[in-house]
Amino acid sequence: MTDALGPRPRIGLFATCLVDFFRPDVGFAAARLIERAGGEVIVAEPTCCGQPAWNSGHRREAADLARRVVAAFAGVDTLVVPSGSCAGMIARHYPELLDDDPVYAAPARDLAGRTRELAAWLSDDRGWRPEGVHFNGTVTQHDACAGLRELGVRDQPRALLRAVAGLTLSESVNCAECCGFGGTFCVKYPEISTRMVDDKIRGIVESGADTVVAGDLGCLLNIAGRLARAGHAIEARHFAEIVAGMAEGPGIGDSEASWR
C-alpha cells in the first residue's frame, strides 16, 4: 500500500509488559497513532525487553529475552515503543548486551538503530500532530528518566499535547526529577521510593493540573498508586491515550464501569 509519502512503513509496536498487563488501552492508542501517522502496525508476541533482568545484573536472562525481541521485529522498518524506558533498553543497551553473540550482535545493533520512543517517532520522524482531538483539562507532564536522559524525549510529547484542543499544559517545577519507580527499586527500597514519589506528587499538585501524563507506564503506576493512597483526585494517564483521543475511560487505577 502506498500514500503520498511513498510506501507505508512497516512499524513494529512493542507493547511492553506493563501495557499488556495493566493498560491495554495504551497499546490500542499507540496503534491508532502509528496508523494516523502513516504507518502499518505490526504487533509481535514478546512484551518483555529484558530490562528488569539487565538492571538487576542478570545478563544471561536479559540476553535470552533480548534475542527474542530482536528476532520478532527483524522485519520491521521501525520499532516504536510507548515507553522511553523499554525503548532505551533496546536502542541503547541491546548492542552492548548482545555484543559477543555471534548470531545476534549485528541484528541487535541494527534494531537498536531503528527503535524509537512513540512521541519522538510521531513528532521528530513523522512531523505528525493530532488534528480534531479534544481533551478538557489541565495536564502536567512527568519526564520519565530513561526517555529524557537516554533518548532526549522532552519536547516531543509536549508538542503533541499542545495540539490537543481544550488541553492546558501546566509544568511542574520538578518535572525532570525521578518519581522513584526504578523498576525493582520501588519494591527493594520502598521507603526511599515513597519519599521520591511524594516529592514528585508535591510538584504535580503545585502545578494545578487535574491530569498527570508520562510516556512510561512504570512511573504512571507508581504516581497513580501514591496519588490514590494520599487521597488526591488527580488522574494519571499515558500521553498516548490523550493524543489518540482515547481518554474517555477511567484514569490509571480509577474505578471501571465493568470489572469482571
Binding site: 495493566f22 496503534a31 528488569p52 545484573g57 521507603e191 526511599i192
Partner: protein, 470 residues
Amino acid sequence: MEVTSAQFRASARRALGDERLQTALASIQKGFPGKRATALEALPEFAATSDHVTAVRDHVNAHLDVYLERFEAQVQAAGGQVHWAADADAAGRTIVDICRRAGARSVGKGKSMASEEVGLNEALAAAGLQVTETDLGEYILQLRGDHPSHIIAPAIHLRRDDVDTAFAGHHDAGVRSSSSEPAELQAEARRVLRERFASADVGITGANMLIAESGSSCIVTNEGNADLSQHLPRVHIVIAGIDKVVPTFEDASALLRLLARSATGQEITVYTTFSTGPARPDDSDGPAEYHVVLLDNGRSELLGGSLEAMLRCIRCGACMNHCPVYGAVGGHAYGWVYPGPMGAVLTPQMVGIERSADLPNASTFCGRCAEVCPVQIPLPELMRHWRERAAEQGVESAMVRYGLRTWAALARRPRLYRRCARLAAGCLRLLARGRGRLTRAPLALGWTQSRDLPAPARRGFIERWQAGER
C-alpha cells in the same frame, strides 16, 4: 572507619525518619544544583572543556605507570620524596614513619578523602600523635567523633546547634562565641585553630591533582586551611590516590574550570595552591621536607576493565548533589567513606561487593549523576557492573534472585506467560472489587505499603490484538 554499608536499608530507614537530617539534606538539593547550573551557563565552553578533560583523564589512565614515574622523578628533582602505598595499611605506616623520623608530636591536617579511606587519623593517634583536622567541617566532625557525610561538604548533616554543642564540650569558655550563629561559630573555630596551625610539626593534605611535568601537588580550598597546613609546618606530607595525576599545568587549568563549578557552583575556589618540593635555600618560608604518598588501595584494579572510567573522577560531588537517593538518605547511610553514586561504584571496589551490595542497587538509574558528571563517567553503567557481580556471587536477596528467574523463565514461554498473566490478573481484579486498584496484594512486596496498586486489565493487549480487536 568501620564499614556499615551492609546495613544500608536500616540506615536509610533511620535517615528518612530523622527530621533534623532531612532539613539539612533539603538544603543540599536547594543549594548546589542551582548554583552549578548558573555557573555552567556563564561558561559557554564548559561542555568543550569537559570533553577535553575527559580525554586527558583517559589518556593518563592508559599511560598511568609512565606518568607516575615521571611525576616521581620530578618530585625527587625538586628535593621531595615519593612513597608508594599498595594499600591502606601501607599508607598509614608510611605516614607514621615520616612523622616519627621528623620527631613530630602534632599534626595539622587538611581535608582529604584519601586519608579517610585509609583511616589515617586512627593510625596517627595510635602512634601517639596529636592530630587536628583544620577544615571547619572536618574539625567539627573530629570533635564529635563523627565522619563526613559528603565529600566536599563533610558536615552537611549537622545543624548549628550540633556545632555549638560540640564546641561547648571542647573549647575553653574564654574563646566561646556568644551565639550559635554560623558566623560566630566559624570565628570561634578560627580563634582556636590559629594556634594549632602555628604549632603543628607536620602538615598533611590531600591533593586534587598531581602535576607530572613538575612533580607538584595541587590542592584547592575556600578556607585557606590546607595552605596553612602546608606552608607553616616543618614537614608537608601529601596523600593522594594514583588516579590524581595530570600531565601539565595547562591540563590542570582545564580541570580546574570544571571542578568548583561542578562542586559548589563557584567559578573557582578561593585558594588553589601548587606545591613543588620543600622550601628552597633562600625562601622566606615553607617546609623543610616535602613528601608525597601515592595510594593505590584498589585503584589499579579499575584499570583496563569496565570500571576504568571511574578513575576519571575529580571528586567534585556533583553526582551526590543531584542524586535523589542521596538527597533522601544522606551520606552516612552508604556506610563508608564515599557516598552517593560515586561511592556506590568505589565502595564495592575498596571494601568488597559482599559487604556493600545494596549501594549499587539503591539507584533508580535515573541518570542525573551521569548527566552532571564533568568527566562523563557513566555512573549507572558502572553500578550495573556491580549488580552483575553481586548477582554472580549470589549476594543479592533470594527474593530478587528467584523472582527474576521465574519472570525470565515465564517471559520466554509466551503461551505459559499469557496463561499465568491472565490468572494473576483475574486474582488481582477479584481483590480490587471494581475499585480499579488494590490497597494490599500478595507478592506486591513493598509496593502497597505506601501505594495502591492499579488493577490489571481483564485481558491483555496482545491477547485482544490477536483476537482482532482494534
